[in-house]
Symmetry: C2
């Protein structure tokens, strides 16, 4: 629909809001009008938060996680196990794993996965820095926690070839039927894999 906006300022704001992923023009208009209903200080604070993030954001020199200092709070924490490195695609995965409370090691954020379709090759990712980090000798195990997709598998394979000559232990996160899922509805590939990779039954759960 070729919307006519009563104001070019409104139209520009809607254009920018609608450029965000998952935000359509109708939602963008609703958001712009919401800002107009709120006090001007709301929009000032809103814009300042985004600008400050974009201008002042830092990435950890060790693991490339987002942080406020030179080294992130996880890498700087002496109580974490620095010999155990979990390789993830992005910052979101660091947050998701941290929220499980199950991991006491450290991370390495690749910044993406190898995807020929999107033109992302190994050199676009933080792979060389991972190899260097492992070669320094402190790391004993690397856990590959990438998406269980074709691209994730390709990246896992590439990392395995790069890291295995260094004599480090390389593991991959368990794949199987999600907890709470009904077997009936699990897809065949996952179900087959969960049978092959079965673990010994334990009463501890």
């Amino acid at each position: 629909m070729n919307q006519r906006y009563p104001s070019t300022l409104l139209e520009h704001a809607v254009n920018e809001l609608a450029s965000l992923p998952g935000i359509g023009r109708k939602t963008a208009l609703r958001l712009a009008l919401y800002m107009l209903r709120r006090d001007p200080s709301y929009t000032e604070r809103f814009s300042a938060a985004l600008l400050t993030l974009r201008r002042e954001v830092k990435y950890c020199k060790v693991c490339h996680n987002l942080c406020d200092e030179e080294v992130c709070s996880i890498c700087a924490n002496p109580t974490r196990d620095h010999s155990l490195v979990c390789v993830v695609e992005n910052i979101k995965e660091v947050m998701a794993i941290e929220n499980t409370g199950q991991f006491r090691g450290v991370y390495h954020v690749l910044g993406g996965i190898i995807s020929p379709m999107e033109g992302i090759g190994p050199n676009d990712l933080e792979i060389e820095s991972l190899v260097k980090r492992v070669a320094e000798g402190e790391v004993k195990e690397v856990i590959l926690a990438l998406s269980t997709t074709m691209e994730g598998d390709t990246t896992n394979f590439f990392l395995y070839r790069k890291l295995s000559p260094l004599g480090v232990r390389i593991s991959v996160i368990a794949r199987g039927v999600a907890i709470g899922d009904e077997i009936e509805y699990a897809d065949e590939v996952t179900l087959g894999r969960s049978i092959v990779d079965r673990t010994e039954f334990s009463l501890k759960g």
Copy 2:
């Protein structure tokens, strides 16, 4: 879920994005990370568009529609029928009616509807300016195009009492079964109203 953010700058940005209506914390995080992936100029342009809108927005002196000048392009258009005023709740309704291409009159934007639940009374709306506009004599008909809700009906009734002493014609938009809707699924109130308010059949559609 009590998310831990790797950076306070990221957390602030997520807080601001999640303060928008309909944007949850998960979407807010996705949007913030999207901005970090884009060039810094993207966030600069994005923020500038919102700030410029909020700082420089103007409302039409005549109809209170959003505009770039003192008077909006609809009110300033001499080919529109200035004796026919369509009363709407907000700017979105002006845009929706303009998009139908069916209306050649002008508008009056109330800026809301009377809602005791939300503490919005007649004095919070552009009602006095409408009465003044009608009293000046040029307006021949006022079309009430408010939501077909309890609040809309209350506002219609209030406006009717204020405007009818001025001798202007007052009409209300047609209510009935929406075009494309199946009778079977229409609600009883709408269906009943559509029978009472039936119009003469015409082959012109």
